[in-house]
């Protein structure tokens, strides 16, 4: 690192949990319904209505918290976070303040290309809360008012707050990618940023190296980032901006003018801009919600959740690397595709007995195909058993790699087995004995070439390969070469 400062980034991620109904009422959480068609007295905050906790939301939150290696307290409670906003119909958000569902966890991130060393990013806390509705401003028609849709109000959110352990925008992006992957493996959220089911706010400042030790610059909270890429860019921009500002003004955190501020990311201008504080000051007047009872989380419950987590990305990567002999990079590529693809890979690798080959073929043959069609592995037309049969044929030398690809294309296009596809392409298996007889005949017919090889010109054998192909188009060039050289050596 050549910069005279260290970047400190902490992320606050809100994810919508995959429940059918809202956190405190029975309204559907389905995205995209017409405005104000998924509300009831509870989520509109009508006088007299009362919240009742959705058991599944607690379950999903707990799953996530355990997977994030968090400490789970014996019991957790609900608090009211009070502020006035038209998308918050009760005038308070039911959230968790001083006794969150979980705290003190970590998530390990690493860069398979080695841009930074693996590290554990601290998770300060992960707690449950209800989402707010949506405000839409009607600038176009020149009206001086906003429209409020409360469909989203009351949707369960898990807020996951990290420690300021991230040291670069790239690390921040990696953390988000890993977190999203984990949530996908856990089946707790679909993490769709477009639909708002995953939202990221970032806190960033610098520790500038000085003769008196590191000096912190004022913390900035960055909002309105609509993709992980945007997060990375916004943070890069912000780090540079803070560095410039430090050089110009030298204001440190906590000094006059050095309080925390909020900035938005402008995707069009690729810049952050100052946002006015939502309120004169954020005095949320948290206090325990008297409408809700505490939730007890006995050790047995936590343990049974832990036992039900399944294999998570980090463990899966390690198993692929050690058990299947593939590189960390390849393991990462596969695991990032999600559990279903990994299962496909495992089935193929186990059946063909060569993890490395299976990995190469799946990256070349399967991932590209899925990517071109923007689809997932369950739409892939070749079953794992057939894919494995193909690889076996290739590994046995019955098919060259390029012939193998042609076979695979046939299998995909016509939904055929390896056998059928090979027949269609007129490929027959050439067995080893047959090939050896052919090679023997060719050597007998070409003594010059034998002499050249014996004189050390191994390349001369190449013309035999062409002749062999003429006699039998299914002959594997590599095998022909190997057999010929072996026979010549034995002469």
């Amino acid at each position: 690192m050549t910069e005279p400062y260290v970047i400190l980034i902490g992320l606050e991620v809100h994810v919508q949990l995959l429940t059918r109904s809202k956190l405190f009422c029975g309204c559907s959480t389905r995205f995209g319904a017409p405005p104000n068609t998924q509300t009831c007295p509870v989520c509109i905050g009508m006088p007299g209505s009362l919240p009742v906790i959705n058991r599944q939301a607690v379950q999903l939150a707990l799953r996530t918290a355990v997977a994030l290696n968090c400490t789970i307290p014996r019991s957790t409670k609900w608090d009211r976070k009070q502020y006035f906003y038209p998308d918050l119909p009760k005038g308070y958000q039911i959230s968790q303040y001083d006794l969150p569902l979980s705290h003190c966890g970590w998530l390990e991130i690493s860069d398979p290309k080695g841009a930074f060393a693996s590290k554990r990013v601290g998770i300060t806390r992960a707690h449950l809360e209800e989402d707010a509705g949506k405000s839409m401003h009607d600038e176009a028609v020149g009206r001086a008012d906003s429209r409020i849709d409360l469909n989203r109000a009351g949707t369960p959110l898990l807020e996951i707050v990290s420690e300021p352990d991230l040291r670069s925008p790239a690390e921040a992006k990696c953390y988000l990618t890993e977190l999203k992957l984990l949530l996908g493996y856990l089946g707790v959220s679909d993490c769709n940023m477009q639909e708002g089911s995953l939202r990221v706010d970032a806190n960033i400042n610098l520790h500038v190296g000085t003769a008196d030790g590191p000096v912190p610059t004022p913390i900035v909270e960055v909002k309105n980032m609509n993709s992980f890429r945007a997060v990375e860019r916004a943070l890069s921009y912000e780090a540079e901006r803070q560095w410039r500002l430090w050089q110009e003004l030298g204001v440190r955190l906590g000094e006059p003018g050095g309080h925390k501020t909020t900035r938005g990311w402008d995707e069009g201008r690729q810049a952050t801009y100052e946002q006015r504080a939502k309120e004169e000051s954020s005095d949320y007047r948290y206090f325990p919600d008297p409408d809700l009872l505490p939730v007890v989380l006995p050790e047995e419950t936590v343990e049974s959740v832990r036992a039900s987590l399944g294999e998570l990305p980090a463990a899966l990567r390690a198993r692929l690397e050690t058990g299947y002999g593939i590189t960390p990079y390849d393991a990462d590529v596969l695991v990032n595709q999600g559990r279903a693809l990994v299962d496909y890979y495992l089935a193929v690798a186990d059946a063909c007995g060569d993890g490395k080959t299976a990995c190469n073929w799946i990256q070349q043959g399967v991932l590209r195909w899925l990517n071109d069609r923007q689809t997932t592995i369950d739409a892939y037309p070749v079953p794992a058993t057939e894919f494995a049969a193909l690889l076996k044929a290739v590994l046995a030398g019955e098919l060259t790699t390029s012939r193998g690809r042609e076979v695979l294309a046939e299998m995909i296009d016509h939904g055929e087995t390896v056998e059928q596809a090979m027949k269609r392409l007129g490929i027959e298996r050439v067995d080893e004995a047959e090939l050896e007889t052919l090679c023997r005949r060719l050597l007998e017919a070409n003594p010059k070439i034998v002499a050249q090889v014996q004189a050390g010109k191994e390349k001369a054998v190449g013309s035999l390969i062409g002749q062999a192909k003429k006699h039998n188009p299914n002959a594997d060039p590599g095998r022909v070469k190997d057999i010929c050289l072996k026979l010549i050596a034995g002469m």
Partner: protein
Amino acid sequence: MAITRDEVEKVSLLARLLLKEPELEQMTGQLGAVLEYIALLDEVDTANVEPMAHPLDVVDAFRDDEVQPSLDRERALANAPNRDDECYRVPAVLGVT
């Protein structure tokens, strides 16, 4: 702990109330008197006393994750002071999401 007029004004903003004279003056006096009375609690030794936010020591009231019918939109919006066919309308908000 007497409360000042300035504090009352600040709290009124926090509570989204608007107190004009002579209400502000009156409120300052009345809140002051109530707070003075409440200071009675200072004489209670509460060291090592667990706070009691609720009379029930019951826990765990859940509902199952089942979708129930929502309100018909017309009924949901029926009490709105200002609305259109689909939404509530309020004076412009900033930082819209």
